[in-house]
Structure formats: C-alpha cells, structure tokens
Symmetry: C2
C-alpha cells in the first residue's frame, strides 16, 4: 500500500525563505496570510490529505465511478464522506473573496494545498479543482446577480463546477464546435449539443453542478469568433435559489480510461437545457481562457504531485528492499544483501526525481505569487510585469511539469522492479493518473505552440526579455560568489542556450512559421530547465547564507539542499545544449517528408 506525507517543511522553506511570500504582506490577500496562518493551513491541509484522501486513492482506482441506468453517477466508496469533510473544513474557500464567503487568501497558498490533495488522491482533487476554475471564470465575467446566486454555494462546495469545451470532432480547435444556443427572449438560452471528456460532469458529491458550456448562438459567425460561454446548472434554481427542477442536462456515459478512475469523465448531453450567457456574446473563448489559465496551473501541479508521491514511495522501497551488494563493499553486512539505495544508479534515479520535484514546486509557487501580485498590487507596472511572467510561464509549467511529472512517475515505478507493474503496490496507478495531465487543458504540444506563437512575441517580447533580465540580474548579483560557482555557471550556460534559442526563433520563426512549430517543444523544455535551474540557484543562495550565519538544527537540511541542487546542475542542466542543437536544425527535414511516406 502506498503512503504519502505532504512536504510541509519543504514548502514552508520555499514560501518563507526562498520566494519571499511574506515580502508582500502589505498587499491585500497577503496581509491575511501571516506566517502562523500559512503554517497552520499547510499542516492542517496536509493532515486532511494524508488521513482522509490518500487512503481512498487505490479504492477509487479499483472501483471507479458507476453510471446507473437512470443517468445518475456514483463516485467510489468513501468519496462522498471525504468530500463532505472537505466542505466542512472550508478547503475550497481559501482563495475566494470574502464577499462570497471565502477566506480571501492568496491563490499561491491554495495551489500548494492543491498539490497535496493531488498527491493524495488526484481523481478526488479534480472535483473541487474544477469548481475552482469555474469560480475564477464567474468572478471575472459573470454579472453580480449570477455571482451572488452561484458563488457562495460553490465556495462552500455545496455546488461544484465543470468546464464543457470538447466535442467529439473538436478539442484543440474549438472553432469547429457545434453545440448551439437559442435565445428565448427572456435572457435565457436553450442549449443543445454533446460534450465529451467532461471531468466531474455528473456525480453524487454535491447538490448541484454548475456547467460552464461553450456554445454557438444561432446565427453567430463560424469559427472561434462565434463562440459564447453559458452557465447551465444541472438543476434550475427555485425562487429561493435552491436546486429544483432537472434542466435537460444528462450524462450519456462515462468513459473507460487509462487512469483517474475515481473521477467521472462524462459524455454530457444538453437537450434544450436552459443556460445563461456569461460575459459577452461571441466572446466565450476569452472568458473561458481565464478558467483555462487557472486550470493549466492546476494541471501543472498534478504533474508534480504524482512525481512527488511516486518518489516518496520509491524511496521507502529503496531503503527497505535488499538485493545485491554495494559496488564498494557490503553496507549492511548483517543482512543477506544491501538495501538498493546503496547503488548509484538507484540514487541517480531518486535524486533526479527529487531535484525536479523541489525545483518544480518552487517554480509553480513563484509563478502563483506573481499571479497574485498581478491582481492585488497597487503598482500598475508591477501588476503588468507579474502578469507577463504568469502568462509566459503558464504554458511552460503545464507542458514541462506534466511531461516530467509523468516521466519521473515512471522512473519511480521502475525502482520496484516487477512489483511496480502489479496493481496492489500502487505505483502503476501514479503513472496512469499522471498520464492525463500531459493531455487535458491543452495537450502539451499546444502549450509549446502557445509559448512560441503567442507568449514570446506578445508586446514585442516584453515578457521573455523581463525573464532574461530577472535571471541575468540574479547572475550578476551572485556570479562572483566563489562558493556558488556550481550553481551560477551551469545556470549561465542554460540562460545562454535559452537566449540563443530565442534569437534563433526570432530570426527563423518570422521567416517561416514552421520553424517556430518545429522548435516549440524543445524550446518549452529548455525554458523549463532554466526556470527550475534558476529556482535551485535561488535556493542555494539562501542555503549558503543561512549556513554561514549558523543554521542550528537546519544545518543538515540546508546542506542537503545544496547537494540536491548540485545534482540538478550536474545531471539535468546539460540537456539545454542538446535542446538548442536540436531546435536549431529547423523545420526543413520534417516538412520535406511527403505525407504518404509517414
């Protein structure tokens, strides 16, 4: 049976010591999140995840969700009770404004809880996770009336939310969608069509489900310019605002899929369901993008979450499993063999995963803090810079953290040998669950295109130039520190490679957009490596300074951070050179193979 301990201490170290979370305490939201509050929330949240969600993870996988003949869907045993406990504790309300019943804390705190929840039980965490995304879209685009009606219940978790984008013939290219909306003259619309892959589309956890649905108003333009966003509740509300009549929304089937069995992935049928426009007519994609950015960060975190829990279990196994002897002589001479953690190749695997997990966590928190600042800073320039960073890094986090989160879950599974392939050990579930994160909320190839095609050129490259300046400034500040050469030199090399790749893109992507497409995935991963390398270098600066001051009982922890960071620099950063070499070869070869030759 797998286990999980939420990395509370590591996270507090990042928030308090490395990423300057409390430097923003003069700002709204941050002002409530004092060090005591943050620590209490993380510890309580950890406990909830470890004790209530994690034990349900394998059950959820084995049992899955069940659609009954009447269209009802029931979640696995224990999910309803755990969800009630989730609502009771108010875990869904952390980052929601007070006026809708929320705790008004920074989103950068809520995302950490999201990591813990996903590590403990990713399929479960998706139910409240989607609600958070729906709340974000409504906050941004709904009228006050709709906000007042729906948000308080979604904040408590009494009602959940969904995103309805995909149709059988269109996922990436939403311009093709066919679901239609017919105005009824009273401000409402009749929505008809079929949506697929709707996570948490139907279930037994909440009293109502608030579907956000993309549809085309009759007569609207073809393509993406004719898409509007609608709120379509599972049950229409009565005069008191309570769920009452069914609303022509039904779950046609649930998908048999590779993983996240505890989450109901539904085919949703809208049969003249009543819906209300959210935001402006034909501006639905823009409204949905708010939700998608939230969701993309959430999915990025899912990648780390599976890598983290898989790592923890791989470590426990590597310390316990005895097999063979150390190459340098027995380390457990009293036993018939040494624990496999004595082997360098085992340590290489474990440290690869761990050094990724910690840097990835730092980078997503760093980005989430920028996200908060982009909302609450009183300084326009600071807001814009933070928003630039968030926009630039969101596709990188989504693409890189889920690609690598999956790869590293696979590597952790490998530590178990044959047992890793057997269901009861739970490792193969982490792999199957992690796999979806590379696909949904925009497949990772789309993230890479978003990065090179939209985020890089936006505003004349303002965001990437600012990133270069941030990392370059850091290097200027610390480059002379002799003790940190093992960090600053590889980071400098990585930054140089990233700048060269950016230059290559500017020169060649303009001339032929296929060059940008051909380079996109390598470029995205190159930026991810540099971003995480930057995080390790920041950690190293802090660790070194604290060690020089005399760190007391933190000394071991800080030294270990330097070792892990050194490992990252030695073993993960060299990839940037290969990425640059690959992407610089351009699109010509790949475009010259005739289609029929594939």
């Amino acid at each position: 049976m797998p286990s999980y301990n939420a990395p509370v201490e590591d996270t507090l170290f990042l928030l308090n010591d490395v990423l300057g979370f409390h430097d923003h305490s003069h700002l709204p939201r941050f002002s409530e999140a004092t060090p005591d509050v943050v620590e209490a929330i993380l510890k309580e949240g950890a406990k909830f995840c470890e004790e209530q969600l994690q034990p349900l993870n394998q059950i959820g996988d084995h049992e899955g969700c069940t659609r009954h003949d009447d269209g009802r869907v029931t979640t696995p045993k224990g999910f309803k009770e755990a969800y009630d406990a989730f609502c009771e504790a108010g875990w869904g309300s952390l980052a929601i404004p007070e006026q809708y019943g929320g705790q008004n804390l920074p989103a950068s705190l809520a995302v950490v809880l999201n990591e813990f929840m996903c590590s403990a039980n990713m399929a479960f965490a998706m139910y409240p996770g989607l609600t958070q995304g729906a709340i974000a879209a409504l906050l941004e685009h709904a009228s006050d009336e709709f906000k007042d009606t729906y948000l308080p219940k979604m904040t408590t978790g009494e009602w959940t939310g969904t995103m309805n984008l995909t149709e059988p013939h269109c996922g990436t290219d939403l311009g093709l969608l066919r679901t239609k909306a017919v105005p009824q003259g009273d401000g409402s619309y009749k929505i008809s069509g079929t949506k697929i892959f709707i996570s948490a589309g139907e279930h037994d956890l909440s009293d109502n489900i608030v579907h956000l649905v993309l549809a085309r108003i009759e007569g609207a333009p073809a393509g993406t310019k004719g898409i509007s966003l609608f709120l379509v509740p599972k049950k229409r509300l009565d005069a008191d605002g309570n769920p009452a009549e069914d609303n022509g929304v039904s779950c046609g089937s649930i998908e048999e899929k590779m993983g996240i069995h505890g989450n109901a992935t539904c085919v949703m049928n809208y049969d003249e369901a009543t819906g209300w426009l959210i935001g402006e007519e034909n501006k639905g994609l823009r409204a949905m993008f708010v939700m998608m950015n939230e969701a993309r960060l959430g999915v990025a975190i899912q990648g780390v979450s599976q890598s983290e829990v898989a790592y923890q279990n791989a470590v426990a196994y590597a310390k316990d499993r005895i097999q063979g002897r150390s190459l340098t002589g027995p380390k457990a001479p009293d036993k018939p063999a040494d624990p496999i953690i004595v082997h360098p190749d085992v340590r290489r695997v474990l440290m690869t995963i761990r050094s990724f997990n910690e840097a990835a966590r730092a980078l997503y928190i760093h980005t989430a803090i920028k996200g908060d600042i982009s909302h609450v800073s009183e300084d326009e320039a600071e807001r814009q810079a933070a928003d630039d960073f968030m926009g630039l890094m969101t596709p990188v986090l989504k693409g890189v953290l889920t690609d690598k989160g999956f790869d590293y879950s696979v590597m952790a599974q490998q530590m178990f040998g044959g047992h890793g392939y057997i269901s009861e050990w739970g490792m193969e579930q982490f792999v199957r669950d992690a796999r979806i994160a590379m696909i949904y909320e925009g497949a990772n190839g789309i993230q890479a295109l978003d990065l090179v095609g939209r985020k890089l050129p936006a505003n004349g490259g303002r965001a990437i130039q600012a990133f270069f300046k941030e990392v370059g400034g850091f290097l200027k500040e610390h480059g002379d520190n002799e003790d940190l050469q093992g960090f600053t030199k590889p980071l400098k090399k990585g930054l140089d490679d990233l700048q060269a790749a950016t230059m290559w893109l500017m020169q060649n992507g303009m001339a032929n957009p296929d060059n940008a497409g051909a380079a996109s995935t390598d470029y995205m991963h190159l930026m991810g490596l540099v971003g995480m390398g930057y995080m390790w270098a920041k950690i190293a600066v802090v660790a070194q300074a604290k060690l020089e001051e005399g760190a007391g009982d933190k000394e071991e922890m800080l030294k270990n951070k330097l070792t892990l960071g050194t490992f990252y620099m030695e073993r993960l950063m060299p990839e940037t050179g290969a990425q640059l070499a690959r992407l610089s070869t351009g699109a010509q070869t790949m475009m010259s193979l005739p289609e029929e030759a594939f």
Copy 2:
C-alpha cells in the same frame, strides 16, 4: 480500433540491401534462407499476425486471463484458436534444428517474426516467446535424452515453456533464492518453493508446460554458487512420453497488473514436484543465462514492436483528424480544418518515433545476425567477434529499445489528445503493455550495470574496441563522401562522445566502482544512440548508391530513407553530448546525500 501492418518491405530492405543477410548464404542455417524463402516467410508471417493475432489484442486486454478455483487458468477468448493456428503453421519451429523437427533457419529471421507478433499482440506472443527461450536453454544444456523427449513437442508448440527465477524476496539478486531441490536417488529431485511473476506459468493453450526452475539443492553453497537449473513439467510423462499425472506444480494466483493482461502472470507453487537437473549442479545461473540472453533480445524487440504499432496508428490518426490550420496557410482549404499532420510538432513526434523504429530494427537484426554467425561460422575468430558483438549489444538493445519503445508509445498516444487516454482507441494499451519490457528479464538499470560492469571490461575491452573499429572503419570508408556529410559528421561526433565516455569509465570506474554505476544508464543510452546512428549511416550509404544507379520505383522509398535518417541525425544524435556531460560528473554528488535525507 487500432490496426497493424507488418513492415515487411522495410525489413526486406534491411535484410537484403543493408545488413547483408544473404552474404552468409555459404553458412549453415543461412543456406536455407534464400531470398525467396525469406520473403515468403515474412509475408505469410505478416498475414498471420495482422489477421489472426491483432484482432485479439484488445479483447485480450479487456478480458485478461482467469484463474478458476481448481487452479486452471484460461486465456482470453480466441487465444486458443489462434495458438492452434500458430502451431499448425509451424511458426515456432523456424530457428530450431531439424533433428527436433525445426526448420533450421537463422534466428535472425525468427526475431523479425517475433517483432511482428508482438506488435500484433504482445501478450499472446509471450506464450511462444517463452517457449523459444526454454528451447534455447535445453538445446545448450540438457542431455540428449531430455532433448529428444521434450524438444520435438516444444518445437511444434504442443508443449510450452517458462522461466522460473523470481521469488517474492528476490529478483535481481538470485543468490537469495530459497526454492529447494531434494535428490531422490533416481536422478530426479523433489522441488519445493514459490516463484512469482511467472509469465505463461499456467494456461489452456498447450498439453503440457515445461517449467525451467532455479532451485538450490539441499546442502548447496549459499548465494549464486549454489543454484541449479531443473526441468519441472506440469504433467509428468508416461512411458510413451505423453503428459499424464499432475506433478505438484500449481498456479496459486494470477497477478493484477498494469498491462499484458492476455498473458497469465502466475504465482507458481512447487510442492515436492518432480524435477530433473539440467546442466551441472550449482551451475544453474550459467545455464539460465543462455535463456536470458535470448529472452533479453526478445524483450528488446517488444519495445520496438509497441513503438511500431503505436506509430502506425498515430500516423493514421494524424492524417485523419482535422484540427486547426497549418501555420503557413490552409493545406485542406475544402475542409473546415487541416489534418494535424501538417503541423511541424506533429511531424517531429512521428518522425522521432519512426526514425527510432527503423534504426532499432536494423540494430537488433544486425545483432541477431552476429548471434547466428557466432553459432554457425566455420571461422573461430569470426565466431568470437560475433559473440563479442552480441554480448556487448544485448544489454544495450534490452535497455535502450525498451526505454525508448515505451517513451515513443507514450508520444504516439499523445497524438490522439484525449482519445489517447480512452481505452477503446487502444493507444493506452500499447503504453501499458510496453511498460513491462523495461522491467522484466533484468530491469534496465541492471542491463546498464551488465554493460559497464561486465561487458565493457571483459577480455580487456575486446568487444567495445571491435565496435569502435567497426564504426570507425565505416567512417573512414565513407567520411569523404560529400553527399553523406549529414550522416558521417554526426555519427563521428557520437562516436567521439562514446569513446570519451568509455575512456572516462576506464579511468574513473576502476578508481571507484560507484563512478561506473553512476554513469551506467547514460552510457548505455549513449551507446544505443550511436549504434542506431551507425545503422542510419549504413542505410544512407546504400540508399545513396542505389539512387545514383537509378532506383526506378524504389526511388521515393530511398529518398524518404535519407530524409528520415537525416532527421535522426539532426534531432536524436545531439543527445550524446548531454549524456557525456552528465556521466562525466561522476558519483560524488549522488553518494554524498545521506540516506535519511532521501
């Protein structure tokens, strides 16, 4: 529903034009394998795989194997009929000596059929695949009496075989095994113990199952020096050599696992089962190694097989699925969107997989030909050189082709977006099935250790020096060809990196074996890339020469080979530099993290 077309033409091109299969026609086995015979076998084999095995692949996955209360195991619907057809056609007899009823053809031909079978239905192919391994061990180590008794029935497939190595507490470290053998004074032994992860351990396909079992004779030394190999039939034979009485062998349970559901992975209980010693007392591991080398090549091929079938389906989807527009303007203006194969990032993925598949196939066939030569050449030096090559390349093929075969199955799945995650499309099955190949027959970390710890230093580095000489000689011969610079230059760079890595290992692995362990996986992958790069360069030489001669209707095919090979050189070979950089950082950092800090 996925489909599969065996790559017959590509394989014939490799055998006939690139790898010089028929250059050996003066040798036994090869002499029977005339071009006509080879073509007929591949085409018939392809047909069998496409028509009879592939349609059962998803059924096998969904239905799995069933253990009944009486210990019987039944395979999925259709497997028995397909297996009967397999036996009927004599597919299991290709490379078996005539005296046991075989066709005495080169093993390098049989392995190609194995690829086709695994692509079509990996779980099915494992039943006859394990029989082949058992036959190899018996051929090498059993007495004539046992060979005459067992081999003819195993050749026809009437009886199948298994390998019984793993026990609950030991897999990699067989020295720990506890299954015991008690001599009965009549040449037989009573075997007692529990074996786990026994593929094809019990099933309804054959009349008898010949288990090869590692056990410790009472009083034998501890560790690997006290292990013997036994033949333990499921049913003991009567005086006429027919299966009669049950033999104290039973399947205790079948494992619930991530994939290969159509193959029964059994816990096997031996309860004073009668067994007979194969080979010498306490030399069981050596005997088993014969089987394991066969099996490792077979597993390497499983890696390619899943990557190949996943690729084929991804290509079909990429040509069919319309979504978005080409970055350089509509390519299918008559349709609402372009097929996704117009996108460079899609082509990058597909060509990565394809250029790996073709080179991997070339390399495993090249190695299998060397394996044949090591058996049938009349020249002692040639036999030794071929054996060296086979020994050196076996762990590389096992480790690299399964690691990459899995990665590329995942990449092919990604082409399908959300549909790739849904069971009915079949892509996620390829991923789950491919995953096991990285684990069994020696987890890939063990392959890497076998390479750097045993195969490299053996005979003063004779094998690796010969490999350098082979590739170096090729480069000397073709390095001046201006038209092939796109191949020879990157190959030279890769070879340089491999030589530098080898030098590093010699200098640092001796001083501290942990350095060898720390470098092993990167080194293995580096050798794999160079080996496959060498194959592409060989293909390019042939293609270029034929194009210069005028290739008629082969012209397109040959040009496309050059394009694919160029892609490999541009996009896959740059990794060798990163591998060298990583492994050169040594073991110090990874060994310095205290165990409790993991």
